[in-house]
Amino acid sequence: MDILITALSQGLLWALMAIGVYITYRILDTADLSAEGTFPLGGAVAATLIIQGTSPIIATCLAIIAGMMAGFVTGILYTKLKIPALLSGILTMTALYSINLRIMGRANISLIGQKTLYDIVGGLGLESRLVPMVVGLICVAIVIGLLYWFFHTEIGYVLRATGDNEQMVRAQGVNTDTMKILGLMISNGLIAFSGALIAQDNGFADISMGVGTIVIGLASVIIGEVLFGNLSIAKRLMCVVLGSAIYRMIIALVLNLGLNPIDLRLISAIVLTITLASPTFKEIIQKRTGKRGI
């Protein structure tokens, strides 16, 4: 049971990252690789502030702001300097490596024995193993609530439209560059939020904690999408959360089965391939059954 709780809480904490990826990848329709830099940025800012005695709540909020600033930089590179989105993200990610080292002053900061967000929630009398799940639930609920509200404001609608049909939006006299920058800021703010939460849960922030995160984010988005299809925005965001939890459960399952750890990455890749290819499989099956019907 413990392992399921861990998988679920990890799924919830990583879901924020996945929602961030969803905003750029699906809503804005751009591939943003800054994530691998902003995720550790969130961890670095939160951990550095916490060991200096800042309240974990304020430290986490500042981590989000730092992430939004990084997103702003990617946005400027992409829209104003006209560097392709993929490269803009890589540039920010590269620069953030040094910046994260500068922030932390070293490659790894330990948070063991420090007061974190989880200790605050744990102080309310919850069983300790449930704390990360509760924190994850609260954060995910707040984020989805805020995003639901935001995407139904005028700016929110325009932002969504920018990803769908940029020329149409521009024809309405809207500056699409601003919308893209805004989307990248929200996305990277959420990714840094996730990084700050994960670092506090892990008990350390590390310079290389961002490695592979973009794959985790994309996997969650795609698993959620493939399983539950095209839905309204709020349901879609919840599907991303569910996708993130499912991804963690699959990893937990692989670990439980006692497979050779060397194969772990291969198995993750296979799971992703199956998920990504499932719409194609579905089509083939439907065609076949359709033909038989005739």
Partner: protein
């Protein structure tokens, strides 16, 4: 909610129950000790540490599959796996967890304050927040540190170049680890009654010029384990040959790539040391009182080509030790 969605949600619940069903059941046997090993990634130093640990446990009467059961997990360099893996080792009711590499140790230590944890390939446990002090941990963590034997390395330098009066330190000041090592080396050199000269670099592009400046002012150079300099040992080697300057390095690889010699950490031997600590814990020792150990055995590495190029004769007793 339509029928399709309900079916899919049931599928997710099914997946969840499979996860629970396959999770390892609690072991009830008292005779077999559960040993968990969490390693961050596949890497020759880390693999040797683990091999040394398991081999030495067997020699001491704790054979895998007989007296102990080993659960080995490897995060494959993906830190996001560490929490789930740590949790798995903790819920496995391990009697002892051997964590290899700093983040692996931090992750396990964050999950349990009860199960004794031993570390391998962590440089400074105190710095990593794992113990209150390296001499007296006062937490459920202790183990072995792969701190390079700086004193022995500097003594080796003096043995190879006995006329040395001034030792130059070359390092990247923005690497916290290098700064730490140089501070220790500074004290040791002062104790030996010699002078030091510091030269720092900020990236690999500075190295050639700064090294040229340094060789004018010193008789020998000591380079601690430093990532920036490790990637430019060939440059260092060329300048050292030009100026006939002996260079002793922090790590074995650096010595072979452009240094003269070093006494490096033998990770296999460190793993064996950790196994000895594990056995004392099995026999009732309290992990919180076990001091962190550094390498008892070191490995002498001499770059013969370099020795010849700068005209240094290796004393016979050092050769015999190879």
């Amino acid at each position: 909610m339509n029928k399709n969605t309900i079916v899919k949600l049931l599928g997710v619940l099914l997946l969840a129950s499979v996860v629970v069903w396959t999770s390892p059941s609690q072991k009830d046997s008292n005779e077999i000790l559960q040993v968990g090993i969490l390693q961050l990634l596949e890497h020759s130093a880390l693999d040797s540490t683990r091999a040394g640990f398991i081999d030495r446990l067997e020699e001491l009467g704790y054979k895998e599959g007989e007296q102990i059961e080993v659960t080995y997990l490897n995060a494959q360099a993906d830190q996001s796996n560490l929490t789930v893996m740590s949790q798995q080792l903790v819920s496995n009711e391990s009697n002892l967890i051997f964590a290899i590499a700093t983040t692996a140790a931090q992750s396990v230590a964050n999950q349990t304050t009860e199960i004794p944890i031993l570390t391998g390939a962590v440089t400074n446990l105190e710095d990593a927040g794992l113990v209150e002090s390296n001499e007296f941990p006062n937490t459920n963590v202790s183990g072995t540190s792969d701190m390079t034997p700086i004193k022995e390395q500097l003594e080796l330098l003096l043995e190879l170049a006995p006329d040395t009066k001034r030792i130059g330190f070359l390092y990247n000041a923005s690497e916290a680890n290098s700064q730490l090592l140089v501070n220790i080396a500074d004290e040791i050199v002062a104790e030996l009654g010699l002078e030091t000269e510091h030269m720092t670099v900020t990236n690999t592009n500075d190295i050639s010029q700064n090294m040229q400046a340094l060789v004018q002012r010193v008789d020998a150079i000591y380079i601690p384990t430093d990532n920036t300099l490790a990637s430019a040992m060939a440059t260092i080697g060329n300048i050292a040959i030009q100026h006939q300057i002996p260079v002793v390095t922090g790590s074995n690889e650096m010595a072979l790539e452009g240094g003269l010699a070093t006494l490096g950490v033998d990770y296999y031997a460190l793993g064996r040391q950790a196994a000895e600590m594990a056995v004392s814990i099995f026999e009732g020792a309290d992990v919180s009182t076990l001091p962190v150990q550094t390498a008892n055995e070191t490995e002498l590495v001499i770059n013969e080509e370099m020795a010849e190029a700068i005209g240094i004769v290796i004393p016979d007793h050092l050769r015999g030790g190879e």
